[in-house]
Symmetry: C2
Subunit: 329 residues, 2 copies
């Protein structure tokens, strides 16, 4: 069916070994022969069988990518970054979506691990213990979560919160609500930490609401408690929750930002498209994906590398239409 190395060898009048060398280690073969082989290969449209190669070299040139939920607008950006960088490095990418199920996640890691050279785990939901176990037997990098010294790319959540709080206090806000994401979420814990530090430093009051599901409905549900808390501004765990807040405020006739300011986190595409547009802490999602692949590729080259195996990516506050000075200022 497909054209093999033997076909090329026959066409070029050399042995399969020579074809292999001409194509992968040209320095080992006479220029003239090399040229002849290349031409035959091109004519026949030969390309090596990756499975066969992988069998002997032990490298598959495949990466595995596991995400909790592609429907969450945070992930497509990350996935695109991973895709792009992997393709540049001639790696193909297996994708698996766990539907937010930690059990499915461990299952998928197990099955994927055997078909790839390394894994990228986006915001893994499984336990630290499991994560450490897998990391011990497979090259792996985490995105958006940090566990001990395991390789990971994260965002500067703490500084992001500092930026958000600084923006609000500069506008004159003194009392801020936070709509929390899942307690089990690493990034939620980090954001809470940053938020507490920043509000304390600024001498501003903080009311924590939730946790709620990190979805639109979670924001809708949190809106009334936020209003009842008597704050002039609210920061949401992520943009999707913030959109839910905006929607409910709108439905109740509460003007944003005139009566209350709203800040999200992530900067998903929709954040700029709603009205009022959403002020939010922007995360470089595509860079995160690329950085993750870079790190993984480095790890594959020398598994016990001395270089950095963790990186924190900076955040940037996107000031838009949902924040303003508090009403009685």
């Amino acid at each position: 069916m497909a054209v093999t190395i033997k076909d090329v060898a026959r066409a070029a009048g050399v042995s399969p070994s020579t074809v292999c060398r001409a194509l992968s280690t040209p320095s080992l073969v006479r220029d003239e022969t090399c040229e002849r082989v290349r031409r035959s290969a091109a004519e026949l449209g030969y390309s090596p069988n990756r499975a066969a190669r992988g069998l002997i070299t032990g490298r598959t040139a495949n990466l595995g990518l596991i995400v909790p939920d592609l429907g969450n607008p945070f992930f497509p950006g990350v996935v695109k970054g991973i895709q792009a960088r992997a393709r540049e490095a001639d790696y193909a990418v297996f994708l698996a979506d766990t539907d937010e199920d930690p059990a499915a996640e461990t299952q998928l890691v197990r099955t994927l691990a055997k078909q790839v050279d390394g894994l990228v785990l986006c915001s893994p939901r499984m336990s630290e213990q499991e994560l450490r176990g897998f990391a011990a037997e497979t090259p792996l990098v985490m995105l958006n979560r940090r566990v001990g010294r395991l390789p990971a790319i994260t965002f500067a959540n703490v500084d992001g919160m500092r930026q958000a709080v600084t923006h609000l206090t500069a506008l004159g806000h003194r009392r801020i609500a936070y709509v929390a994401g899942p307690r089990t979420s690493w990034s939620n814990r980090e954001r809470v930490r940053g938020l507490r530090a920043a509000t304390a430093a600024a001498g501003a009051g903080l009311v924590e609401i939730g946790p709620v599901l990190p979805q639109f409905d979670g924001g809708v549900a949190a809106a009334d408690p936020v209003l009842a808390a008597g704050v002039t501004a609210v920061i949401a765990y992520n943009d999707v929750i913030a959109l839910g807040l905006l929607s409910r405020f709108n439905a109740r006739g509460i003007a944003v930002p005139a009566e209350i300011s709203v800040i999200g986190f992530d900067d998903i595409p929709m954040a700029a498209m709603v009205h009022p547009s959403l002020t939010t802490v922007g995360l470089p999602m595509e860079s995160c994906g690329r950085a993750g692949v870079d790190l993984l590729l480095g790890l594959l080259q020398d598994p016990d590398r001395f270089g950095a195996t963790r990186r924190e990516l900076g955040t940037q506050l996107m000031v838009r239409g949902s924040t303003a000075a508090p009403p009685n200022a």
Copy 2:
């Protein structure tokens, strides 16, 4: 490193051939032996090397999935459906994002084709000719596009438009605008076709605007021409454009649906979250993905199958807050 079939064979005191048979064709081996092999395999944590198996069987148990842009909210749903169905059938999925570039698309098809048993092409952007060429040498199904008799899953675009127009005319609208997507898009052509038929049948006027890019900004740009056209309702090529329309209408102080009704297409998650919520023609995106994999798997079983190789999935009008009777009705 990893445990191979030989290790299991040694542990169970049989030959590798017997191990293989015990695990894949138990009927060929004595029950007692079979049991012993299974136990050894389980103890050692053996799982067959897929690359080695693929080498000899010719099956990789991998599928390739190519999408134009994961950032487009239409695709994640489809991808999730594909994922889920593929996993059920024990197939792993390679994902590639072409960034809307037809050249990248053909390139990716070429490279992926050799590592998979079959390909799923989401809304392929390449030419019919190329598509036919690839289909001739690789099992492949298209999603959201139809080319001749090639295997494809599509949506009932024409009927979807009929539903939308019926809804509007029933409300009393007599003059409708359509904001067109890319002229090269198969689904845009289908939707236009359905729209013309439906408006003609209902005796309603139709104003075609665009084409615009199928993005938020495209909708923003189309909003003013729509208003200038003197219509009481507008149907957009897709939801993202419709959201752009809503945004611009809002900015210009045009009330929706009081002054103008808006209908989208796709029913992306955001459609239900904006205010007013968007009336739209809903497409079963996840089913589409699943149906695509089902079709592909069938094709792999018997390549010259007599059964249907094309399916059209029904659409459903989601009536929400962006449509109402025209102002002077």
